[in-house]
Symmetry: C2
Subunit: 376 residues, 2 copies
């Protein structure tokens, strides 16, 4: 653990957009940063070497999944998550809360914690703030999350109850924490309700934690609601701590988040899309199953410097897709992850050079997002 660990140095800002450096025991994270997701201690279809080549620094892994399989005790016995999955750079684990509320077959929430059924084998388990922290200490990520209750975003009464509980659980998470080489982030909840978001932001900010997570967005509310909540939160969160918008994003969400002061993002989107043959380009997504690419001698994105775009034609990748070859998912994943990381890096550079406003306007005018519900 370096002396500067968990310091956040703000290098530049433009409007509410920020560029900074967050120091962790496994190296620094230049922000804004996009973290690819390695749910089961692997970013799907990529080796750590391929992942490093995309420019990734921070990787997220899921406490719920690793607790169920292979077990946090096993990961700990193998030297912790960095050593187990061979990712020597920073790692962030979530608390398991979101997955318990979204993935497990049934659940029962009480003041003390949540009892749930495993989505793998139906076995019964229980998470409390204390057990979530204990598991995350066994996993050993650089950044860990307090255990929270994720309410549906537009249910006022549920969100009122949930933030009370989330705040109590945050205090218990802080008390439970024993390792000094992990940064615990509190999570701001409150759905789409400005008053609840303010109340939650003020409570979480007062605790002096090394970073703040924003939960309960990108879970069914509109883009306008997400943006409004980020704008409500901006002046209330500590300026000198990184802000992490959980589970976001798409290219347009990253730019809109950075514009509203977000420093850290994570999302399964680039690798999940890749397994469904969809690839990012500066103009929007393309689907490489499309017959129009059968004889296309161009790279997915001619402006991209990733291994995939430097080597392979759309025609070759479409052949792999049609022939159901595993390499298709790998090559598209490499590109999609590299695309998001490069996008965020470009945004960072633009903030440093005080031209983020032009950069973001230009990008959002060019990139055609997919808003309709897709079966991905």
């Amino acid at each position: 653990m370096t002396e500067k660990s968990f310091n956040f140095d703000l290098s530049a800002s433009e409007g509410t957009a920020r560029a900074g450096v967050f120091h962790t025991p496994h190296g620094l994270i230049q922000t804004p940063v996009f973290a690819p997701v390695g749910t089961q201690a692997t970013v799907k279809s990529l080796t750590p070497a391929q992942l490093a080549d995309t420019g990734a620094s921070l990787v997220l892994s899921n406490t719920y999944h690793l607790y169920l399989r292979p077990g946090a005790d096993l990961v700990s016995e193998m030297g912790g998550l960095h050593n187990f999955m061979r990712w020597p750079k920073p790692i962030l684990t979530d608390s398991g809360g979101f997955q318990v509320f979204s993935l497990s077959d049934t659940r029962k929430v009480d003041e003390d914690g949540v009892t749930f059924k495993s989505h793998i084998d139906g076995s019964i388990h229980r998470f409390t703030p204390e057990s979530s922290i204990q598991i995350q200490e066994q996993l050993g990520a650089d950044i860990i999350m307090a255990f929270d209750e994720c309410a549906t975003p537009r249910d006022l009464a549920y969100n009122q109850r949930a933030i009370v509980r989330t705040h109590k659980w945050l205090e218990r998470s802080i008390t439970a924490k024993t390792r000094s080489d992990q940064a615990l982030f509190g999570i701001v909840q409150g759905g789409v309700f400005p008053d609840l978001r303010r109340e939650s932001a003020e409570f979480v900010s007062a605790l002096g934690l090394p970073g703040t997570a924003i939960g309960g967005l990108s879970v069914g509310e509109s883009k306008a609601e997400m943006h409004a909540m980020l704008e409500v939160l901006h002046p209330l969160l500590p300026m000198d701590k990184p802000r992490y918008l959980m589970g976001v994003g798409s290219p347009e969400d990253l730019i809109n988040g950075i514009m509203r002061g977000v420093d850290i993002f994570d999302c399964v989107l680039p690798t999940r899309l890749a397994r469904h043959q969809a690839a990012f380009t500066p103009n929007g997504r393309i689907n490489l199953m499309n017959a129009g690419y059968a004889r296309d001698p161009n790279a997915i994105d001619a402006t991209c410097h990733c291994y995939t775009c430097q080597n392979f034609t759309r025609a070759y990748i479409r052949h792999l897709v049609v022939a159901k070859e595993m390499l298709a998912a790998t090559l598209i994943s490499i590109h999609n992850v590299a695309f998001l990381i490069n996008l965020v890096n470009q945004a960072r550079q633009a903030i440093l050079e005080r031209r983020f406003s032009e950069f973001s306007t230009s990008f959002l005018n060019t990139y055609k997002p997919v808003y309709k519900q897709e079966n991905i």
Copy 2:
């Protein structure tokens, strides 16, 4: 195309085992060599960069598959197979004969060629010696194969008919060939019958081709029969040309083949086994699904220098297997391909140092092969 293309320089021999160098337009091949198989223009689950890291030089690809999908004209339009799949080193294509006889739904053989149904969509196609060569010229591999008829190994009457036809088709293949930057190998057939093998070897050898393939082995006959056929062929094949035993091998088959004068091998085994969680070790195969590896902190093979063994524990790879993560197949494929290439490289070095006899005895005493029929 270099001046020395298709020269075969014999560097050393020990008994009937040989070490040499085969020159091709895409670089030299140190023999004995094991060629991983990229059936559909991809060695399954591996990028060309990962494949190069295993030490691979020669890669095989299948004419039958590429003809059906994406089509040889498309591959040609994309600059040929080397450029399409981004493998800058030597490539070998087979003639499609074996796949027509083993994969297609129905077939009708006549003197002129074979009519068959695609295993993909049931569409009707026809291969002749001329069309096979034309397709292989469009694909553009360094080493191409004459179109042959593959008989079941123990059917004497069928093998008698098949070698007559195979020899006629070889002459037509030679006549059809137009490119000077591809080496055409003739294929010796004859099942498990020494007299037929002798007749075929004498016919093929007399044509002065740059290399000789040995077909119709490793297709249901016993190991003893395979060894006996190699021993029959050894004195009859040109000493100054490489000998290619098609579709072999397992570790023990490679060593037994090298011992009997074989220079080139290919097989899907390392990548196919990997997709079924089986990995080579110096003592035999292990299956990483086995619960005994759940907390095993060792590499698959502690003596191996591949990316997988230098980085990952059996415990991690078993976790990936159990969690059905694609990375499991990739990591085990890297190891299995590297294992066979390293084994063949060690055999080559032993021949150069005149200690192949001890090396092969030691390996065959240590490695416990799997002889029972497996569902791989």
